[in-house]
């Protein structure tokens, strides 16, 4: 079946857009999460919405599952291919189609790299606000699928708050637009659905004015508790920083080894606090932030002198995940959310888990919104180490749930966390979510097996009436 599809795709898309050599296919076997691997049955690299629609229609007709993938940087296996299916890679759809600074928006193709949007609109005084740590490579299409956040979403929100409309290819192979007219907010449901409701082919994003002033503070603390207290104090003072990031000693060590970011070596925790906005606002609030950090016990505070200095401060944070590779042969990047006020308690619990199990845990997180990224370290050469790390990693998620939080703040559920979803939601909750999937994708061929632990059979609910009496008006 796949061989026949490959021929069909070659005829329509050209031979350079179809990959079916097994050695090449295997390079697509995983995204940023290497724990799950599956070599795709076929890879296609379409160049237009029409080509995507063609591929999807062919798949549906053949009953073959398909999965969309952008740059392959996801951390939950959301774009994990199917060995019996087609991987639709959007990395060649990377044109910035329109920049409209007067209306603060731009139209881009899904393969456009997040940071490239900002680069393209910077001459107009704008940028694209959502900034996942992988922004230098992750694609906007992938961001839409995962509703990606980033350090600055504390103030500016997530992808869903910055995407105005999407052209999509529906799971039945039709090209349509979401968010461009009245009716249900299907765009809101689509963003963050992890590619299970269709494939994005064009995205209208909102652009944000480059702030007049930015101040970045790197504050070093003698303990994670005191750093956590500083965060609470800042938020409690009615300040909404652009970002508040925390790293603990182990994460600092890794970042230092990787990019020599110059963080204070003896700090048990550092906070990166960034304020942006009109100069007058930033000036008065930044002074307060510095004072609050000092009162909370910061023993060193470094203020970024210029953009280069700021970039260096952020470099340590942005490279932290990959940098942990320098201090540990293998590790799990966890992603959980807790109410910010539970931070000290949960951090103490993680520390206890780590000590009891002997599994090292480095902590990097978006402290401002309680989004934790514990990095659970292990040596994959050691027997059973991976399993022990998995246990600790899972226990951390349980802590998040117990505190009324979430099992994922930005990495998504993908294949990796589908089994944890029932700990957060009842069967009925999940069933209701899947009603949307059934509406979009009755044959369940669009990225099947992701997000939900058990697929819902879409024929379950009897359809009493199709459409409505006056629906024929349209």
């Amino acid at each position: 079946m796949l061989r026949r599809l490959a021929e069909r795709f070659r005829d329509r898309l050209g031979p350079e857009s179809v990959i079916d050599d097994p050695v090449r296919l295997r390079t697509y076997e995983c995204d940023g999460l290497t724990y799950h691997r599956a070599s795709p049955g076929l890879v296609v690299l379409p160049g237009s919405a029409e080509e995507v629609a063609f591929v999807v229609r062919e798949c549906v007709e053949a009953g073959v599952p398909y999965v969309a993938r952008g740059s392959g940087t996801g951390l939950s296996g959301g774009a994990l291919p199917r060995t019996d299916g087609v991987l639709v890679v959007t990395s060649r759809m990377r044109r910035i189609l329109e920049v409209d600074p007067d209306n603060q928006r731009a139209v881009v193709e899904p393969g456009v790299i997040n940071l490239d949007v900002s680069k393209a609109v910077r001459p107009h005084g704008y940028y694209y606000a959502p900034d996942p740590s992988s922004q230098q490579i992750c694609s906007i299409g992938g961001n839409v699928a995962e509703n990606s956040g980033g350090a600055h979403c504390l103030k500016y929100g997530f992808t869903a708050n910055h995407v105005l409309a999407c052209e999509i290819v529906t799971p039945e192979g039709e090209i349509t637009t979401l968010g461009d007219g009245p009716g249900y907010d299907l765009l809101g449901a689509f963003i963050g659905a992890e590619g299970t409701l269709g494939i994005t082919t064009k995205i209208t994003v909102r652009l944000t004015r480059i702030p007049q002033a930015v101040e970045t503070l790197l504050a070093a603390f003698p303990s994670v508790e005191t750093a956590g207290a500083a965060v609470s104090a800042i938020i409690g003072a009615g300040i909404v920083p652009a970002a508040v990031e925390m790293m603990d000693a182990l994460a600092i060590e890794a970042a230092e080894a990787a990019v020599a970011c110059g963080y204070p070596a003896d700090a048990a925790a550092v906070l990166i606090v960034e304020l942006d906005g009109p100069e007058t606002e930033v000036a008065s609030q930044f002074a307060r932030v510095r004072l609050l950090c000092e009162e909370a016990g910061a023993f060193e505070q470094r203020v970024a002198r210029d953009d280069a200095d700021r970039a260096l401060i952020w470099k340590g944070r942005r490279s932290a995940f990959a940098a942990v590779g320098r201090i540990s042969p293998a590790y799990i990047v966890q992603d959980g959310v807790i109410p910010r006020t539970a931070l000290p308690e949960v951090l103490a619990d993680i520390d206890r888990l780590s000590r009891e199990s002997g599994v090292r845990v480095a902590n990097v997180f978006h402290a401002g919104d309680g989004n934790l990224h514990p990095l659970v370290l292990f040596d994959d050469a050691e027997e059973g180490a991976g399993e022990r790390a998995e246990l600790v990693s899972g226990a951390i998620l349980d802590l998040c749930i117990a505190h009324g939080g979430s099992i994922t703040g930005e990495h998504g559920v993908g294949v990796d966390k589908a089994r944890y979803l029932p700990r957060m939601f009842t069967e009925a909750d999940l069933d209701t979510m899947q009603m949307v999937r059934c509406a979009f994708d009755p044959p369940n061929l669009c990225n099947p097996g992701k997000v939900f632990p058990t697929p819902r059979l879409c024929g379950e609910i009897p359809r009493v009436r199709k459409g409505s009496p006056d629906g024929e008006l349209f």
């Binding site: 409209d100 600074p101 007067d102 209306n103 603060q104 995962e146 509703n147 956040g149 929100g157 869903a160 461009d180 007219g181 009245p182 009716g183 249900y184 907010d185 765009l187 809101g188 449901a189 963050g192 659905a193 004015r209 702030p211 609470s232 009615g238 909404v240 009109p278 007058t280 606002e281 000036a283 008065s284 959310v337 919104d369 309680g370 009324g404 939080g405 979430s406 099992i407 703040g409 559920v413 957060m424 939601f425 009925a428 909750d429 999940l430 209701t432 979510m433 009603m435 949307v436 509406a439 979009f440 009897p462 359809r463 199709k466 459409g467 409505s468 006056d470 629906g471 008006l473 349209f474």
Partner: protein, 372 residues
């Protein structure tokens, strides 16, 4: 069958008088009502304070009105986390009173004394949508009673969360056609220390909107009135000095004040209210539309036009040549001719969503787009 209060003419939804009006005071009671309606095959229309119950089309049928106003508890206000969870029938103004005590607010405006649920169900938002977004952007979790009476939730009570589908956005603006909203969690914002308004005379509105929008001053709102007056709101610890900068930027005819202009955040007058979802640069064209009074969030490109019953068909047709235009409310006799919701892409997907959530089409039937 229900513990219904006496039904009066006041309870009619756009002329359709219900057989029962029930006022559940707990989520469990609300679910019980929905379950009975499901079993009996009854049509249901949810309603809060009824401030926008005249928006949208009349229901094809309405056996039961579920009045949510007794679901009015603040379930949890986690001030340190800037998060609140409330029941749907709580008036937004009461919620703001509670939040004010801790220096916080829900950054959603409404000119009416609406309930939280009503605001979410109609996706109504005011001037400050420019900075804070609308209900969809502030909603972080929602609990809904499904058509079959099952209580289900989506999202949670943390501001950052991508676990499962975000159904909150789907329910937002769904006009009671997908389920009964019973609880909602929101992210909150600190109350600003200062609030300052800057207003201009009617000259050159498009240029002034552009100047504000592209300035570094980060206004919370940029509104325009039909006579070309532009007004902006500045909030923060240094709002006064930013407002002064804005006055300088806008030139002669601009003034700063501590209070908004009288028209701020109110819908334009008229028998018919239209809402246009467009772009900031639509302003110049919209100001030339005859027989309609424009008012809107110029920075976001969301526009309202008030017009008369006679002019409405022409105005609507004219607008729809270029922009998606929804008739928010109009005299009943115009409903047939006006096509309240207008065309939209992806309507077939919307129908299928409706079929999934409400296969019998019993929830606010006919109120929504395409007769959904």
């Amino acid at each position: 069958m229900f513990d219904s209060r006496p039904v009066t003419d006041e309870d009619a939804v756009l002329g359709v008088r219900p057989r029962y009006v029930v006022e559940p005071s707990t989520v469990a009671e609300a679910a019980a009502v929905m379950r009975v309606a499901h079993e009996e095959g009854l049509t249901v229309v949810p309603r809060g304070n009824g401030t926008r119950v005249h928006w949208g089309a009349a229901p094809r049928a309405c056996d039961v009105v579920i009045d949510t106003r007794k679901l009015d508890r603040v379930v949890e206000h986690a001030a340190g986390d800037l998060v609140v969870t409330v029941e749907a029938g709580l008036p937004v103004r009461s919620l703001q009173d509670v939040l004010r005590t801790t220096g916080q607010q829900l950054a959603l405006d409404s000119p009416f004394p609406s309930t939280v649920g009503g605001l979410v169900a109609t996706a109504a938002a005011g001037p400050r949508r420019l900075l804070y977004g609308t209900a969809r952007d502030l909603l972080i979790g929602i609990t809904v009673v499904r058509a079959d009476g099952t209580i289900v939730k989506s999202g949670g009570k943390v501001v950052k969360n991508v676990a499962g589908y975000d159904l909150g956005k789907l329910y937002t603006g769904s006009f009671g056609t997908l389920g009964l909203i019973v609880k909602a969690s929101f992210r909150l914002h600190p109350l600003p220390e200062q609030q300052m308004y800057v207003a201009t005379d009617g000259r050159d509105p498009a240029r002034r909107v552009r100047a504000l929008l592209h300035s570094h001053l980060v206004p919370s709102a940029i509104e325009v009135d039909g006579d070309g007056t532009v007004a902006a709101l500045f909030e923060g610890t240094a709002a006064r000095s930013r407002a002064e900068e804005a006055v300088a930027l806008l030139g002669a005819g601009a003034t700063a004040a501590g209070a908004p202009p009288a028209w701020w955040g109110r819908y334009p007058d008229g028998d018919v209210l239209l809402e246009v979802q467009g772009k900031p640069t639509d302003l110049t064209g919209l100001l030339t539309v005859r027989d309609a009074w424009l008012r809107g969030s110029a920075g976001s490109g969301v526009w309202f036009l008030g017009t008369s019953a006679e002019a409405a068909p022409r105005v609507v047709a004219k607008l729809r040549e270029h922009l998606p235009t929804v008739v928010r409310h109009a005299p009943l006799e115009l409903h047939e001719t006006l096509d309240l919701w207008g065309p939209t892409p992806a309507l077939s997907l919307m129908r299928r969503v409706k079929d999934q959530f409400d296969p019998d089409h019993r929830l606010s039937p006919g109120r929504f787009i395409g007769g959904i």
